[in-house]
Symmetry: C2
């Protein structure tokens, strides 16, 4: 039914990508972050009210529209960032996957590391492929890893 297909295409100018693995969704997440592309970023998230995003400043955003507004603010106000993600630990089951990693952050055009963040990403397998349901990033410790005592616990 070409007419129906065309109508769907008109109402949704960018067909959402299907991420067949959590790693594909993670790659698209960081590409969208570097490109400061809100549409591409939100295409990596599940369209759900139970999604959660914690930015390094400590704010927690819950639900699709709050998470979207958060990225709009981040992309509007910040320098263009580059991410190198390493020390990746993953746990994957048939329906949900967890990725823990260290994000090394620099500014585009300057390779000096601006800082590092500890990051937990959780992906859900949806009918539209793997999508983010949680991104929790917090500043990495400047002190040695052996001293685990923070200001709270």
């Amino acid at each position: 039914m070409p007419a129906l297909i065309r109508a769907a295409h008109v109402s949704k100018p960018r067909t959402p990508k299907i991420f067949t693995t959590p790693a594909d969704a993670a790659r698209a997440f960081y590409e969208a972050f570097e490109a400061r592309d809100v549409e591409a970023m939100m295409a990596t998230w599940a369209e759900d009210e139970e999604i959660v995003c914690v930015h390094p400043g400590g704010s927690r955003l819950v639900g699709y529209s709050a998470v979207r507004s958060g990225w709009e603010q981040v992309f509007a106000g910040e320098a263009r960032l580059r991410f190198r993600v390493d020390e990746i630990v993953t746990i994957e089951t048939v329906g949900l996957a967890m990725q823990s990693a260290v994000e090394h952050i620099s500014t585009a055009g300057d390779d000096t590391e601006r800082g590092a963040a500890m990051c937990t990403n959780v992906f859900l397998r949806t009918p539209l492929g793997w999508r983010l349901v949680m991104h929790h990033a917090s500043p990495a410790a400047a002190k040695p890893a052996s001293d685990v005592r923070g200001p709270l616990h």
Copy 2:
């Protein structure tokens, strides 16, 4: 076979609890935290090298022995803490579950809130019931939630 049961009991003085839901494991985690009981704490974690614990100070510990050492340090050095956990968001599948929450932290005997942390817990269904594979806690923002820009991104 009572002899076998007795032998197993001798070699493992505390039979590990079977947590039949992620919420049961989460409850036991905070009870162990408040009691500063390393054995009870580690009984809530999967015995796995892929487990990850990020304390609010920003250190990331990977693997069972590193995670255990981290809790030993936290419990040795700190005041006895009390947790009130709210704003819980959960996503649960058959094998893995995610819990995002806000931890309100006070010191035992003093109800004044000492601080709050954003917390992500991930639980895996193992042959021994639901166990933690990830705990990521970071200080909550003092600023309003509408300003999501942190020092990193």
